[in-house]
């Protein structure tokens, strides 16, 4: 066989394999970014989501013996109860932005496997009522600027 043909064949095989690996990788690990109100409108149990919002004031509970964190994540229009096993990450707190990764459970809460706190000088803890526009800005920033832990 002509070496040139072998190289073209080999190259095509590698390109196909890579294409398949990327396709399979994307379909198996795609995570949808949604807001609490979007999740409230159509909760699908078991599907992987990244949920971004603000930790609602007065909602944060920390159960030390069980090492479980629970809080509500809100976008001003809706709010979702979230539970997470583990201590809160640095910079996490009420009135601050956070992105949680996990899935909706049939028991009616969002089970987070990962919490990413949003730290930015633009989003100090709000005083009093938070206008909806601030939530929108917050969510925009969350989407683009959350670092994995």
């Amino acid at each position: 066989m002509n070496p040139r043909l072998k190289f073209i064949g080999g190259g095509a095989a590698i390109a196909l394999a890579l294409g398949y690996m990327i396709y399979a990788g994307v379909t198996q690990s795609a995570v949808y970014f949604i807001t609490p109100s979007e999740l409230q409108a159509a909760p699908i149990p078991g599907k992987a989501y990244r949920l971004g919002g603000m930790v609602a004031a007065g909602s944060l509970r920390w159960d030390a013996p069980a090492v479980e964190l629970s809080f509500r994540l809100t976008d001003g229009k809706g709010s979702i109860p979230v539970r997470h096993r583990g201590t809160p990450p640095d910079l996490f707190g009420e009135g601050r932005g956070a992105v949680v990764e996990g899935s909706w459970t049939p028991e009616g809460y969002f089970k987070a496997t990962l919490i990413m706190a949003k730290h930015s000088e633009e989003y100090r803890a709000p005083h009093g009522e938070t206008p909806p526009s601030r939530y929108q800005n917050l969510i925009k920033t969350l989407e683009k600027d959350t670092r994995a832990p």
Binding site: G25, S29, L91, E143
Partner: protein, 644 residues
């Protein structure tokens, strides 16, 4: 006064850089030496001016000049001397100052080293000054470091506490020296295309400069991993974060170039491919800057938030269009003089290595911009995280480790069965033996067995080559140590490469071990209570509060008893900074060759009666830092001038 002076200096520097780029280009086109000399003077002046601007900014930091917005954001009166200097490049504006200063420094070195070179150097100087002009314009318009703040606050906001680390001096400096270093190969590639001299000169010059940039970028990535590991408190060194991805993409294509360039030197092939890799590598450094500075990563709409993204995107488009436009124009000059003879040859092994490296770079690129693509195509925001990158890249990395063993030993042109047997019989046996040994030990992870078997194979090829070459020298009557030393110094490029490969193998062992065998647990302990993890007993003994320079600190005391009864007292903490609303974790760790013990203090009761602790036993992580050390030594060896 100082801030105005700084701004003025930057404007003058930008104008001079523009003039120098034009003068060098017209000097190169017309052959008028006076114009080139004038451009050289401009380059020297630009270096002096950028240095002045940089020092003025440092001065503003050291004197707490809060009338400068950037200073007020990055420091406060409590910021210690050391961090006031590193704080200079702690955020966008200052990082561009540092970037430009390094670019000006590289331009200066270019002038000093290459000014006697007549056909490519003037064009390369023009390109360098043009790029420098762009970065100076970024500082004058979208990201001015000397912008005033009125009214002047009594105190500044303070540095991000995570940046209060010695890593802040080495990590960004090494990383930026790497990033900016790739500008020089790009400048010579463009020069070669413009001048139509795509022969040997540009390849020789570019290869050396690429190793320098590659060395610094590798160092920057390694220190970044170390910083993440010992500061961020999640026990990891790499997260496939967009910012990390931005830094690793040019590393991958630069690595590919360092290999494929050997095929061009030896066989006059892959000319087109090599120039493309250099253009791509520089493009990726600009793309990385764009990605990390513009905030575009999940939303195209964030263009409206600042003009810097548009600046970098336009510049990136200009760079790629110019580069690949020139490439298309010079296409006829870039034909290969040789042909690939056989699939079993060093040429095709190197080609395959390049394909894998570029495939990984493409995967990283694709995964990083995927949220943008999915939003543009379907209007939904989908991201792919670490699972995607690992799933696609781990097999590619394994294949690369295997090729790393094959490439340096297989024959050029066409490998015979004899050649294959002679070079690979023992290494293959070493790989099989390693796999059998690990399976017998009870290792169940197929990936771990494969990774370590490939590592053993490639390690075997290196050992075999060094042994053979040393034996040949020892036969001439040299003792063992002088034989090895003279071998390595005489063929420093080859053995520098082998040393780098060895470093990569040691890193591969560390990554495999830490991914496959690390353990962690998270528990709330009452005082006196302990938790067991991988043979260690971790006991909580109490809390204490202390005050340190810039922050208050709540420190836990944990007594850890090891498998053989050895005890260590560890103090993970929480640090409270006045400028932050919530605390930052202070990790405590004990590093060992086999495993690290890593404690992070979580929540705690104010009376000290109980605390939540995250304990990790991270296996073989030290091998990553040791391998990194070996790798950088190898790169230094390869940079040394040849002694042939």
């Amino acid at each position: 006064m100082t801030p105005e002076l700084g701004s003025a200096v930057l404007w003058v520097a930008a104008a001079l850089a523009l003039y120098g780029a034009g003068a060098a280009a017209s000097g190169a086109a017309t052959g008028r030496v006076a114009l080139i000399a004038s451009a050289q003077h401009a380059a020297l002046a630009v270096f002096a001016l950028v240095t002045t601007a940089f020092l003025l900014l440092v001065y503003a930091f050291l004197t707490f000049d809060f009338s400068v917005l950037y200073v007020a954001r990055q420091t406060n009166l409590n910021t210690p001397f050391y961090f006031r200097i590193t704080g200079v490049w702690g955020a966008l504006e200052g990082s561009i100052v540092l970037w430009s200063w390094m670019l000006a420094l590289y331009t200066l070195i270019l002038v000093i080293r290459h000014r006697s070179q007549r056909d490519l150097y003037p064009w390369a100087l023009s390109v360098m000054l043009g790029i420098l002009c762009f970065f100076l314009l970024v500082m004058t318009i979208p990201a001015p470091p000397f912008e005033r703040l009125t009214p002047v606050p009594a105190d500044g906001r303070g540095l991000n506490p995570l940046l209060e680390d010695t890593g802040m001096i080495t990590h960004p400096v090494a990383l930026y020296l790497g990033f900016t270093g790739f500008t020089v190969p790009f400048a010579f590639a463009l020069a070669a295309l413009i001048a139509g001299r795509v022969g040997d000169t540009w390849i020789t010059v570019t290869r050396r400069w690429t190793i320098v940039a590659w060395y610094f970028l590798s160092l920057g990535l390694l220190i970044g991993g170390w910083w993440s590991y010992h500061v961020l408190g999640w026990g990891g060194y790499w997260a496939w974060d967009p910012v990390e991805n931005a830094a690793v993409m040019p590393w991958l294509t630069g690595t590919a170039f360092l290999h494929s360039v050997m095929i061009q030197e030896r066989r006059r092939m892959l000319k087109l491919w090599n120039i493309s890799l250099v253009l791509l590598t520089f493009g990726l450094t600009i793309f990385g800057t764009f990605l990390t500075r513009s905030g575009v990563i999940a939303s195209v709409h964030s263009f409206t938030q600042g003009s810097i993204g548009v600046f970098f995107l336009a510049f990136l488009a200009l760079v790629l269009l110019t580069g690949f436009g020139l490439l298309a124009w010079r296409w006829p000059l870039l034909r290969a003089d040789g042909e690939l003879d056989s699939v079993l040859s060093r040429e095709s092994a190197f080609l395959l290595n390049n394909v894998f490296l570029v495939a990984i770079a493409f995967t990283v690129f694709f995964g990083t911009v995927f949220p943008l693509l999915s939003e543009a195509a379907r209007g939904v925001k989908i991201s792919v995280g670490a699972p995607f990158f690992n799933r696609v890249n781990v097999p590619l990395f394994l294949a690369l480790i295997f090729m790393m063993g094959v490439g340096p030993l297989i024959a050029w042109r066409r490998a015979s069965v004899d050649n294959l047997k002679r070079n690979f019989l023992w290494p293959v046996l070493a790989g099989i033996a390693a796999a059998a040994f690990l399976t017998a030990l009870g290792v169940r992870s197929t990936l771990a067995v494969l990774a370590l078997a490939f590592t053993a194979f490639t390690g075997g090829t290196i050992a075999l080559d060094v042994w053979r070459a040393t034996r040949a020298r020892a036969r001439t009557g040299l003792a063992l140590v002088p034989a090895v030393t003279s071998l390595v110094l005489r063929h420093n490029r080859r053995y520098g490469g082998f040393t780098i490969h060895l470093g990569i193998l040691v890193i591969a062992v560390g990554v495999t071990g830490s991914q496959a065998w690390s353990r962690q647990t998270e528990m709330t302990l009452r005082r006196g209570e302990s938790v067991e993890l991988a043979g260690y007993q971790v006991r909580f003994d109490g809390l204490a509060a202390t005050r340190e320079g810039t922050h208050d600190k709540v420190m836990g005391t944990f007594t850890v008893v090891g498998r053989r009864g050895q005890t260590t007292v560890m103090h993970p903490s929480k640090k409270f900074y006045p400028q932050e609303q919530s605390p930052i974790a202070g990790v405590d760790y004990r590093i060992g060759l086999k495993e690290d013990l890593y404690l992070v203090l979580g929540d705690f009761a104010r009376d000290g009666s109980q605390a939540t602790v995250k304990a990790q036993v991270n296996r073989l992580v030290s091998w990553i830092w040791i391998g990194g050390g070996i790798l950088t030594l190898g790169a230094l060896l390869a940079i040394l001038p040849s002694r042939k």
